[in-house]
């Protein structure tokens, strides 16, 4: 559809882009970053920071790249002296009242003011003799602080609350150089998606109390992941320092969560840092569990399964990966099985301005994946089947006291694939240490059947292994020639055989924004 494309030249690079594309987005496609502050692809553009002014040949003035649409044959200069000088002017204006408190600022290292000044700002100040504006830090809400001194009034936060959250609790107050971001006394910034304003803030003006002074940005390791909070499947980055998760942030995926995540998801990471983990395989010897090596444990697990043909009960955590759920399910293939996923339920909390984006009531990131793999959600039914089951496998599901009593009374074998030590389940034949989703590679299938990858963000404790590895080893059987999957990708490839909806797909196909599964292939094997 060539008629829908226009060709422009940006800093000497020719690109063809869709009609109506802004210069700033066209430049991205040409691999040219136009520095900017107020512009954000998920917010309306007010063109007020004036940082993205570019030189367009034949235009009398510099034009804001964020709102100027490309025209056929346009020649744009981002790096020309005129454009650079304009940016240098903006940076100088932004810096005159900006405190140089970078050493104690959480944003340092990932600050767009720092970055652009480093890139092309003036070396010295011409504002030396004046006191800078000073206003005290304000408490905006449960997790958010406002540091007015650092604010560059880009208004991203105001626009997010107004146009995206549709709850305009922030404003620009006053005018001229007296202006600041304001809030009403009786309406705090406590919206369920409010945390996004911290990510949107290009400087260290809006801070998360949860992350306050926790880490320097350059000390963080960042891992692409998927939020384990609900069935929406928002793409996130897990930030760790020395193997400790310090925060979760949204990772852009225009089809799932654009640039946002909810505060429930954002704060749902403490369990990733639990210290009371099962670190070695435990087998029951008489009345107690003793630590052993994997060969012994896996051997015991295999024998136990070969000794019977059901019925089986599977109780799985809602956060279990597709790979783990699938291979564990294959352990009891052909048997009568009651398989239930643990699905905590809460309220639905939509983000009003973004269609099809909400914190979903089903707080299990892989509910759709589990269903495809033959798991239901009838937890009570599965518990009811425990007593007469030959084998009960618990895949890191959290158990209520009542459920623990039911398991303790099981007549068959109980195998726990656990992250934390079980309580009151002395009858378990095996307690095998498994990794959390933060410690393994894997995939989740979200509510729209989009299968998305997450990557290992931190090291597994002790001898813990992904559940798919345990199941894969058992399925392959003992011996040096056994063909057990060594990676999550190999485990994923094994799913295709039993579950056609995954057949032929590889991790490479999924990329980092996932792929929607073909619903016509979703027949679940018996």
């Amino acid at each position: 559809m060539a008629e829908d494309l226009v060709t422009v030249t940006i800093d000497g690079i020719r690109v063809a882009v869709a009609t109506g594309t802004t210069i700033i987005e066209a430049a991205k496609q040409a691999g040219v970053l136009v520095p900017h502050y107020c512009y954000h692809p998920s917010l309306p553009s007010p063109a007020l920071c004036r940082m993205c002014l570019v030189e367009v040949e034949k235009a009398p003035k510099l034009l804001p790249a964020c709102v100027t649409q490309v025209a056929e044959g346009q020649v744009v200069h981002v790096g020309s002296p005129k454009a650079r000088e304009a940016r240098q002017g903006v940076l100088e204006f932004l810096l005159i009242n900006h405190p140089l408190d970078c050493p104690i600022c959480d944003q340092a290292g990932e600050c767009e003011l720092q970055d652009y000044v480093f890139q092309e700002g003036r070396a010295g100040t011409r504002y030396a003799e004046y006191a800078k504006r000073f206003s005290p830090v304000e408490d905006f809400g449960p997790d958010i602080l406002y540091v007015p001194n650092r604010c560059i009034l880009c208004t991203r936060c105001v626009r997010f609350m107004e146009d995206v959250a549709r709850e305009p609790v922030l404003n620009v107050s006053e005018r001229g150089d007296r202006a600041y971001i304001g809030i009403a006394d009786d309406q705090p910034l406590d919206h369920a998606w409010a945390g996004n304003v911290v990510d949107l803030c290009p400087v260290g003006s809006l801070l998360s109390k949860d992350f306050l002074h926790k880490a320097r940005a350059w000390d963080l390791d960042k891992t692409a992941s998927v939020c384990p909070g609900c069935t929406q499947g928002c793409n996130i980055t897990i930030d760790t320092r020395d193997d400790v998760v310090v925060r979760l942030r949204p990772r852009p995926n225009l089809d799932v969560n654009r640039h946002f995540i909810c505060d429930y998801g954002r704060m749902n990471y403490r369990w990733m840092n639990r210290g009371d983990r099962v670190e070695a395989p435990l087998v029951r010897e008489g009345p107690r569990h003793v630590a052993t090596d994997w060969d012994t444990a896996l051997d015991r697990f295999g024998q136990l399964l070969r000794a019977t043909s059901g019925p089986a009960v599977l109780l799985a955590s809602g956060r279990a990966s597709t790979e783990s759920l699938g291979l564990v399910r294959r352990l009891v293939e052909g048997w009568p099985v009651s398989a239930a996923l643990q699905v905590p339920v809460g309220e639905e909390v939509p983000l009003a301005g973004i269609p099809n984006l909400a914190l979903r009531p089903e707080r299990a990131p892989n509910l759709a994946g589990a269903r495809l793999l033959g798991y239901g959600t009838d937890r009570a039914g599965a518990i009811g089947a425990v007593r007469d089951a030959a084998v009960v496998i618990v895949l890191d599901a959290e158990l209520t006291a009542e459920e623990r009593r039911a398991l303790a009374a099981a007549n068959g074998a109980v195998v726990l694939l656990a992250t934390v030590p079980p309580d009151g389940l002395g009858n378990a034949q095996l307690v095998l240490p498994v990794t959390t989703m933060a410690e393994e590679n894997g995939t989740y299938v979200n509510r729209d059947w989009r299968i998305q990858r997450f990557l290992q963000a931190k090291a597994a404790p002790g001898m813990a292994r992904p559940a798919w590895w345990i199941a894969g080893e058992v399925l392959a059987g003992p011996g040096p020639d056994a063909d057990a999957p060594a990676t999550a990708e190999q485990a994923f490839a094994l799913l295709g055989g039993a579950f056609p909806v995954f057949a032929g797909l590889t991790y490479a196909d999924l990329g980092f924004t996932g792929r929607v599964l073909d619903r016509t292939l979703a027949a679940v094997p018996a």
């Binding site: 007020l48 510099l62 304009a86 504002y127 004046y130 005018r175 001229g176």
Partner: protein, 435 residues
């Protein structure tokens, strides 16, 4: 006429004929003076014919930009069932300008008549008149005129028997210079901060409440009935200089003159005669030093430049300044240019809406540098710094407020550099406490 003074024979009295005549205020009085005849005549014409007549007359927007009024009307899209709005800019916020205030104070029906004709021309059924909050008298007077116009069927469901409705709503500003900028005004009417909008889209496409909208200044609208009644040719014939500058213009003359007031001249009238002969020139014993010819936002002219300058759009532009709103601030040799420029910069710093970085920070910084100079702490490179800031504040923002702050600074340094240098060299007593 040179209100509050008696008319000068060299004025061309059209809009100002009834300034000072309380009899013109009422509906009946206005009818007696030939009022609403032009509206009747216009309603008998097609909207296109009205637009054509105004185009032909050469009438240009009197608010400051000087954009041809008829052309502006013709940019409105064809009626398509959506609401369409006329907005009358009665914010008159440009320092040095006080002409619209007199039009509203003495001839409110002239304004309403102009609004009604313009609304007919652009097929709008609602007209907002945005009056600045400080104008308490014009507010009362125009409010009363609107009530009378409704009572007499000029406004309302069947305006003047045209079969079409016309509503006029007065909207009161609340203290913000920038609301005189047309898109800021639209935001202000919509109940928002008076932030100027990015253009495009232009108001004719997406204006008030997102609908096609035309914004005209009070004086522009007040001129329209005269054009309709006396013909475009007559209006076009009123030009002493450039044929692109036609008609009469109210020039507000203030500052160091003996008879400050509004003088109505035919465009092209010699600026020197306007200042000296009509407004009486500087007080006895004083000499003309400088003139800001188009409201405070335009470059300063030196006395020499005034000497042979015709008062029209092109003539003033040729001197490197702008006719703007026609507010002439006159300064004699007692004026401290550095102090005056600081005072202007302070005005802009106070009025900046805070959107664009260059304006928000630049206007305030400019004030500080000027304060330092006036406080006897200036440095040699401060003038270059001021010029650099001005360069960064010019042509780079959503609206021209920061350009307006830069203009007097740049022209002031260029034309009166010695005064700045005297402060910096400590050869002049500080005018402000040191900062």
């Amino acid at each position: 006429m040179g209100f509050p003074h008696t008319s000068h024979p060299r004025e061309t009295v059209v809009l100002s004929q009834y300034f000072g005549d309380p009899g013109a205020l009422s509906y009946a009085g206005w009818l007696q003076r030939g009022g609403y005849e032009a509206l009747r005549q216009a309603l008998g014409m097609t909207p296109d014919a009205v637009v054509a007549a105004v185009k032909e007359s050469g009438l240009r927007g009197r608010g400051g930009a000087g954009f041809p009024a008829g052309l502006k009307w013709s940019l409105m899209p064809k009626p398509d069932g959506r609401a369409r709005y006329l907005v009358c800019n009665a914010d008159e916020s440009e320092p040095g300008t006080f002409k619209d205030r007199e039009i509203m104070r003495w001839t409110p029906h002239a304004l309403l008549e102009g609004c009604a004709i313009a609304a007919h021309a652009i097929s709008a059924e609602t007209c907002f008149i945005y009056i600045r909050g400080e104008f308490t008298d014009p507010w009362r007077i125009v409010s009363a005129a609107v009530e009378e116009a409704y009572a007499n069927g000029v406004l309302g469901r069947d305006a003047l028997g045209s079969g079409r409705p016309l509503d006029v709503i007065l909207h009161r500003g609340a203290g913000a210079y920038i609301c005189g900028e047309e898109t800021a005004m639209l935001n202000s009417i919509e109940g928002k901060r008076g932030n100027p909008r990015i253009k495009p889209p232009y108001p004719a496409q997406c204006g008030l409440f997102g609908m096609p909208t035309t914004i005209n200044n009070v004086e522009t609208l007040a001129a329209v009935p005269h054009i309709i009644r006396r013909g475009a040719e007559w209006y076009k014939g009123l030009a002493l200089g450039n044929p692109k500058s036609t008609g009469t213009k109210l020039i507000s003359v203030c500052g160091h003159v003996q008879r400050p007031g509004n003088y109505e001249i035919t465009l092209g009238f010699p600026m020197k005669d306007l200042i000296f002969e009509l407004a009486g020139g500087p007080p006895a014993g004083r000499r003309l030093k400088a003139v800001i010819p188009g409201g405070s936002s335009v470059p300063i002219m030196s006395a020499d430049e005034v000497e042979d300058c015709p008062t029209d759009y092109e003539g003033v532009a040729a001197k490197g300044s702008m006719l703007g709103s026609g507010g002439m601030i006159v300064m004699d040799d007692s004026a401290d240019m550095v102090y005056q420029i600081w005072r202007l910069a302070r005005f802009y710093a106070h009025e900046s809406c805070a959107q664009c970085t260059q304006c928000r920070e630049g206007t305030a910084w400019t004030v500080k540098v000027l304060e330092r100079i006036l406080g006897g702490k200036g440095k040699e490179d401060d003038l270059q710094l001021l010029l650099d800031l001005a360069e960064n504040m010019t042509g780079k923002t959503i609206c021209v407020l920061s350009d307006s702050c830069a203009a007097p600074v740049v022209s002031g340094i260029k034309k009166f550099r010695g005064e700045f240098e005297a402060y910096i060299a400590r050869a002049r007593k500080p005018a402000l406490a040191a900062v």
